[in-house]
């Protein structure tokens, strides 16, 4: 009698073990948290841009920053030669007033194409639509506030 009880208990224990055993949580939480800390440290150095914004930033730095400035404040080294002055893209009010579509159009058509200063050249023959969209995404980060949806 006693043997049967013992056998049953043993069977039960075995079954429980086999059910839970294979899914044993594996270590590594400690290392993962260390990673999170180092990633966080990198974050505090500069504002983390999305992949698309970073691509836009590279195009902006290459083509736009000479006049609009690296931070978009309209203070690139060539700005003082220009009249009218390049747009201050870091102006939050301006950013609120314009839509993404308008910004993309100005970039693609240039000032001449939208009845503004012709000193802004048209980039539609040089940049792809995707690149223009990425530049717009980056310009939206210049006012220091996320774009309103």
């Amino acid at each position: 009698m006693r043997a049967i009880w013992m056998r049953a208990t043993a069977l039960l224990a075995l079954a429980t073990l086999s059910a839970f055993g294979c899914a044993r949580r594996q270590g590594g939480a400690e290392v993962a948290s260390a990673q999170a800390v180092s990633a966080q440290a990198a974050d505090t150095v500069k504002v983390v841009l999305t992949y698309e914004q970073r691509k836009g930033q590279r195009v902006f730095t290459r083509y736009c920053a000479v006049c609009h400035g690296a931070e978009g404040a309209g203070d690139g080294f060539n700005a003082y030669n220009l009249n009218p002055k390049p747009r201050d893209l870091s102006d939050a009010q301006f950013q609120r007033a314009v839509s993404d579509e308008w910004l993309a159009e100005v970039i693609a058509q240039g000032g001449r194409g939208v009845n503004r200063s012709p000193l802004m050249p048209a980039w539609g023959h040089t940049l792809t639509r995707g690149q223009v969209r990425e530049v717009v995404a980056f310009i939206r980060t210049l006012s220091g506030k996320p774009a309103s949806p």
Binding site: M1, I4, W5, A8, L11, L12, A15, T16, A19, F20, A23, R25, Q26, G27, G28, A29, V31, A32, A34, Q35, S38, A39, A42, V45, T50, Y51, E52, K55, R58, R62, Y63, V66, C67, F77, N78, N81, L82, G110, G111, R112, S117, P118, L119, M120, P121, A122, W123, G124, H125, T126, G130
Partner: protein
């Protein structure tokens, strides 16, 4: 007996319960919860989206042998509207590669078939390649892209450049990475002073901030012994004597030489490549303290023919007369001195310095970079890095360091703290910035043994076979033209590509330019130096350029210079806002070259072709394609050709 059947019933019941554990666990699994959460999440979205059926989602990229179940939780990967959604529902940014076809882990690594976040991302036991942190994802581009420049991977591109420039191949074998020019040390004892050498060995960056020479963290006595050993390598005839006259020279004559030297130093645009006290070019050593480093005799001889000393150096052989060379030597060795260098740390000599120094020279593998007579070159001391990106964790010695046990953390730590992982390591400290260390880690991780199918591989662009011969070839070598200019794919990109120079510039202008070179772009640091070429040399170069460096597609007839077309062009010049970047007279911007006398400089064919598509002739140009039609291009060309230098047609 009845008791027995009771027990049997009870056990059966319990057994049934136990069997139910597995389905219950599956029902409560993480991915199921995420999918339910996703379906709740998209209900709150402004745009209606289809809820996902609850089941494990799997992508299969047979060409890479990858099976990924990441999409079981990352449900918004392909939803363009979810670009700002919280993870794990965020959309994947648009990249050059289709997420569907490539899967996830080929770029991000991690355990693709896993169905819990921790196992898929994290460091699971027996899983060698955990998910790469975002900053190292670019390393995966390098599995297929072999070239130095990988599009949309700036960190990997920078890392691969740094891998060459930091000259890791001095100690580590890396397939496909060439050795660069490093000065030999065969006459170092006659070139520099001991005080300078000790200081340099202790801290190279205190002399030249951008030097490739790393800091070997030598204790004082080792630096002293090594310096004493190196100082025994004296000149064997390469260094000629200084003119005797210099010793007995009056102060007045010395002053005149100094002034002449200063003028020539400026005209030769030495600071295009060299910096003086941190200001100027970055390609060659800082000259700000050169007077406290080299002996005047060495400098005087070196300026006569740099390649006699350093066959692979990019320094041009300036056509200075002996007097001018002496003047530049006097100017540089009196102007650019630093008393601190001469007062270097007083380290006493060790009588056994020769043997000890030689041992140190070998121990730190100085010969990996610097040639020295009697020392066998090219022995690799460090482990080969050709496939370091596939290194297994058990092969890595972490020692007692608290570095997380992953390959990328190991590499990053090794680059920033090279001697952390064990006692007695000899890897020097390169003092990399965080950005550089991440870039280099990306470059190293990209050196994998993983085989991707041929169809996906983007091979390294072939090296240009262009090697000009004869008189022109000799001049190109002497004046180190390829150090700045590119011709037919050979050379650097610092200065304009000259592949089509004969079709671009007018022959007369080329000849005049070499007499008094000027930079077309005054905002540049790297400007064309005055090489002080002889008339015959200029003629030889000009003849080669106008006969060989041509592009027939740029031969259009000069448009008739009629006044109507010119004024039409002038109006277009204003309409298109050309003056935003170009200057005519005193009006206009500084981004492009000034166009004041462009009609005496460029050919009409070039202008016409350039206006059609600037990128066809210079992929790096900032000038946009304005989308001009043929008539507009003709008018603008006519206008620009009318802008001629006075007195020239």
């Amino acid at each position: 007996m009845q008791n027995l059947s009771k027990i049997f019933a009870l056990t059966s019941l319990l057994f049934l319960c136990v069997l139910a554990v597995s389905p219950v666990k599956d029902y409560l699994s993480e991915w199921r919860r995420q999918q339910q959460a996703y379906n709740r999440f998209i209900e709150q979205q402004p745009r209606r989206m289809k809820p996902v059926p609850i089941r494990v989602k799997q992508s299969w990229a047979p060409q890479f042998g990858r099976v990924d179940r990441c999409a079981s939780c990352h449900l918004g990967v392909k939803e363009a509207t979810l670009t700002n959604a919280p993870q794990p529902f965020r959309a994947h940014p648009r990249t050059a590669h289709d997420v569907e076809a490539f899967g996830c882990t080929i770029c991000h690594e991690g355990q693709g078939p896993a169905t819990t976040a921790e196992e898929a991302h994290g460091i699971a036991e027996f899983w060698e390649r955990p998910m790469l942190p975002a900053r190292y994802v670019e390393s995966s581009c390098g599995k297929c892209h072999a070239g130095d420049e990988v599009p949309d991977a700036p960190s990997l591109t920078a890392g691969r450049r740094l891998l060459k420039e930091a000259h890791c191949v001095g100690c580590h074998k890396i397939a496909g990475v060439p050795k660069l020019f490093v000065p030999d040390l065969n006459d170092i004892g006659s070139k520099v002073s001991r005080a300078w050498l000790v200081r340099w060995l202790k801290a190279p960056r205190s002399y030249w901030e951008r030097t490739r020479m790393p800091n070997f963290l030598l204790p004082d006595e080792e630096a002293g012994v090594l310096a004493d050993y190196l100082m025994t390598f004296k000149d064997k005839g390469r260094i000629g004597p200084l003119p005797e006259a210099l010793r007995a020279m009056s102060d007045e004559r010395r002053g005149r030489l100094y002034d002449l030297g200063r003028t020539r130093f400026g005209e030769a645009r030495c600071i295009s490549c060299h910096a003086v006290g941190g200001k100027g070019g970055t390609a060659a050593p800082d000259l700000g303290k050169i007077g406290s480093k080299v002996s005047p005799a060495w400098l005087y001889s070196y300026l006569r023919d740099p390649r006699a000393f350093q066959p692979d150096v990019e320094m041009p052989r300036y056509g200075l007369s002996d007097e001018e060379r002496l003047a530049v030597t006097v100017y540089m060795t009196t102007e650019f001195t630093d008393p601190e260098v001469a007062d270097g740390p007083a380290i006493p000599s060790d009588p056994a310095f020769y043997e000890k120094g030689k041992r140190l020279f070998r121990a730190y593998n100085c010969a990996g970079c610097h040639a020295l007579e009697g020392i066998r070159p090219g022995e690799e001391m460090g482990p080969e890095l050709s496939t370091v990106g596939s290194k297994r964790l058990y092969e890595i010695e972490f020692g007692r360091a608290e570095t997380p046990r992953t390959l990328h953390d190991y590499l990053h730590t090794k680059l920033t703290r090279p001697r952390l992982f064990a006692e007695g390591l000899r890897m020097p400290d390169y003092e990399f910035s965080e950005e550089e260390a991440v870039a280099l880690t990306n470059a190293l991780l990209s050196l994998t043994a993983e085989k991707v199918p041929e169809a996906y591989r983007v091979p390294m662009p072939p090296e240009s076979p262009y090697a000009p011969q004869g008189e022109f070839g000799k001049l190109v070598r002497d004046y180190a033209c390829f150090g700045c200019h590119k011709i037919h794919g050979r050379g650097e990109r610092i200065a304009p590509d000259l592949t089509r120079e004969g079709s671009q510039a007018q022959p007369d202008w080329i000849r005049r330019y070499f007499k008094v070179p000027y930079s077309l772009r005054p905002t540049m640091t790297e400007r064309m130096p005055n090489l002080f070429m002889k008339d015959g040399e200029i003629e030889a170069v000009a003849r080669y350029v106008e006969m060989v460096l041509l592009d027939d597609s740029l031969r259009v007839d000069a448009p008739p210079g009629d006044g109507r077309l010119v004024s039409e062009g002038k109006k277009l010049y204003e309409d298109y806002g050309c003056r935003a970047c170009h200057q005519i007279g005193t009006q206009g911007g500084y981004v492009g070259p000034p166009l004041t006398n462009v009609g005496s400089r460029l050919t009409p064919g070039w202008m016409y072709g350039w206006l059609e598509n600037p990128r066809r002739y210079n992929p790096d140009t900032v000038e946009p394609n304005h989308g001009l039609n043929a008539g507009e291009r003709r008018a603008l060309t006519a206008y620009l050709m009318s802008l001629k230098e006075e007195g020239r047609r």
